[in-house]
């Protein structure tokens, strides 16, 4: 290699670094995709809120649904709740996972703010949350009709999040399910 060309090597390496950093500015380093994408919903056997019959993962099968992780101590869950009510009224199947909470508070919350969930799994100790890879409420999982997790959204679900991130996949999966 001509000696002069060798001297351009540092510049070339720096250019590669700069491009990487530029790309990095549009990424979010704290965003973590779920490790359970395309894997079945973890097995569980827990009581439901206000129900005597225990619930298991089989109860999630049969329709495409959203499983929403929420708790009364979670401020953002309060923010997202009205929109969840709206989604439920539109016919989207919604199941709740009441994460590390207590029954009395949770029931009062639902009475006060409305209950969009078909049922609520009472995960008192957070064991199901650990199996799911939950690290903070609110989180919402999109589960298909066979009980396989297809997507996870961390944070508040609102109009923007639903139409951009969740709805397209939800529609696709529902159509797939209907045609089967």
């Amino acid at each position: 290699m001509a000696p002069r060309l060798k001297l351009f090597l540092p510049l070339i390496l720096f250019a590669m670094l700069a491009i990487t950093l530029f790309r990095g500015l549009s990424l979010d380093p704290s965003e973590m995709p779920s490790a359970l994408i395309d894997r079945p919903f973890p097995a569980f056997n827990l009581t439901g809120l206000g129900q005597s019959r225990p619930l298991s993962q089989a109860d999630l099968e049969g329709q495409v649904s959203l499983v929403n992780v929420w708790a009364t101590w979670c401020v953002a869950c309060r923010v997202e709740h009205p929109y969840l009510n709206q989604l439920s009224q539109q016919g989207v199947p919604l199941f709740g996972l009441n994460y590390k909470d207590n029954d009395a508070d949770a029931q009062r919350w639902l009475d006060e703010l409305g209950n969009p969930y078909r049922f609520n799994i009472a995960d008192r100790d957070g064991t199901l949350g650990l199996d799911l890879g939950v690290y903070g409420a609110p989180e919402t999982y999109l589960v298909d009709a066979t009980g396989v997790i297809r997507y996870r959204h961390v944070g508040v679900v609102d109009e923007g999040v639903w139409s951009a991130l969740l709805e397209p996949l939800y529609q696709t999966l529902t159509e797939e399910n209907d045609t089967q």
Binding site: M32, A76, K100, G129, L132, G133, V134, G136
Partner: protein, 159 residues
């Protein structure tokens, strides 16, 4: 990221502020397990915090993970089994030691490769320079070579 979400993030981050040093007192049936516990809590990353391991973080999820870790150690699982268990739920992100497979292998090979490359470049550069020098010098007559040597020695003394 718009301003509201930025503020929310900062607010959450402030709640998860460090130096709360939540210290749990787990009892271990075997002191060996406690040693393993301490080293494993430093291998695992808190999924939610700003770059802390679960030993130093007081976020609720870290507490849960530490409790899980304690349970698994008492249940007799090996280090690898425990780490795989965590990765299956939270992804590779939760391990501070990059795996030896996949794309991370380059991370482990990099230092050795860089060292070899650096020494290699050094050797080649020095050898080609001294060869160029001797080749150039050889093209002079004997008298010129003697003059060159004495001139260069004078320069060498000055510096």
């Amino acid at each position: 990221m718009n301003r509201t979400s930025l503020l929310l993030v900062i607010a959450v981050a402030m709640f998860a502020a460090p130096a709360l040093a939540l210290i749990e007192t787990y009892d271990f049936s075997d002191p060996e397990l406690e040693v393993r516990y301490q080293s494993l809590t430093q291998e695992l990353r808190c999924p939610k915090c700003q770059n802390q391991n679960i030993a130093d973080s007081n976020a609720p999820i870290s507490q849960d993970l530490r409790k899980l870790l304690h349970q698994q150690l008492e249940a007799g699982e090996s280090d690898d089994e425990i780490l795989d268990h965590m990765v299956a739920r939270y992804g590779e992100f939760v391990r501070y030691r990059p795996s030896f497979g996949g794309v991370s292998i380059i991370l482990w090979l990099a230092p050795a490769l860089l060292l070899l490359a650096a020494f290699g470049v050094l050797l080649l550069t020095l050898r080609s320079k001294s060869r160029a020098t001797t080749a150039g010098v050889a093209s002079l007559s004997a008298e010129e070579q003697a003059r060159l040597a004495s001139l260069l020695n004078k320069v060498g003394q000055d510096s």
